[in-house]
Amino acid sequence: SQTIHQWPATLVQPVGSPLSLECTVEGTSNPNLYWYRQAAGRGLQLLFYSVGIGQISSEVPQNLSASRPQDRQFILSSKKLLLSDSGFYLCAWSSGTGNQPQHFGDGTRLSIL
């Protein structure tokens, strides 16, 4: 069966520090991969998605970037964090064929001080 892992579960970072959140998927190949941010009590905002290695689509201009160095690895990064980057970051995967549900990891709670 397929599984998705995100780490760390929680992270506290000072303003101006770099960020690297990692997501890996097991049990499937060539998945679509997604990064979302969820503000408290709100819905999900799509940040990036990828349909293949090295292919990244950005949905909103921001202080973050994403990379997909391997088929089942998706990384969310920042060179210098802002206070507004605080939030709950979720990684998801879906099958690359047709409309399929996205399956989410358990997220990273990021607090910027």
Binding site: G43, L46, Y49, E59, L90, N99, Q102, H103, F104, G107
Partner: protein
């Protein structure tokens, strides 16, 4: 593009009653719809999906209804249990689109 709205941000029901959570959408080209359940501190969990060539689909204790005429989607939970307490999100996509558009969520609270 798509936009998704929910009729109620919160819903309280008695344990054992049926729950109905609603979504409205704006784009008639939307043809794939999903319901997710999100418990506190966790990622959204897939519940059930439906494609536009259907108007009803049933799972275990859940039913999704799709009314394309009025662009309305609902999730019915039968015999609501305390474990059903969560935020429920609808999401939709167009055929071939790699992206989902999420509603803002409805918080379901179960009263004993």
């Amino acid at each position: 593009g798509e936009s998704v709205g929910l009729h109620l941000p919160t819903l309280s029901v008695q344990e054992g009653d049926n729950s109905i959570i609603n979504c409205a959408y704006s784009n008639s080209a939307s043809d794939y719809f999903i319901w997710y359940k999100q418990e506190s501190g966790k990622g959204p969990q897939f519940i059930i999906d439906i494609r536009s060539n259907m108007d009803k689909r049933q799972g275990q204790r859940v039913t999704v209804l799709l009314n394309k005429t009025v662009k309305h989607l609902s999730l019915q939970i039968a015999a609501t249990q305390p474990g059903d307490s969560a935020v429920y999100f609808c999401a939709l996509a167009r055929e071939g689109a790699q992206k989902l558009v999420f509603g803002q969520g409805t918080r379901l609270t179960i009263n004993p």
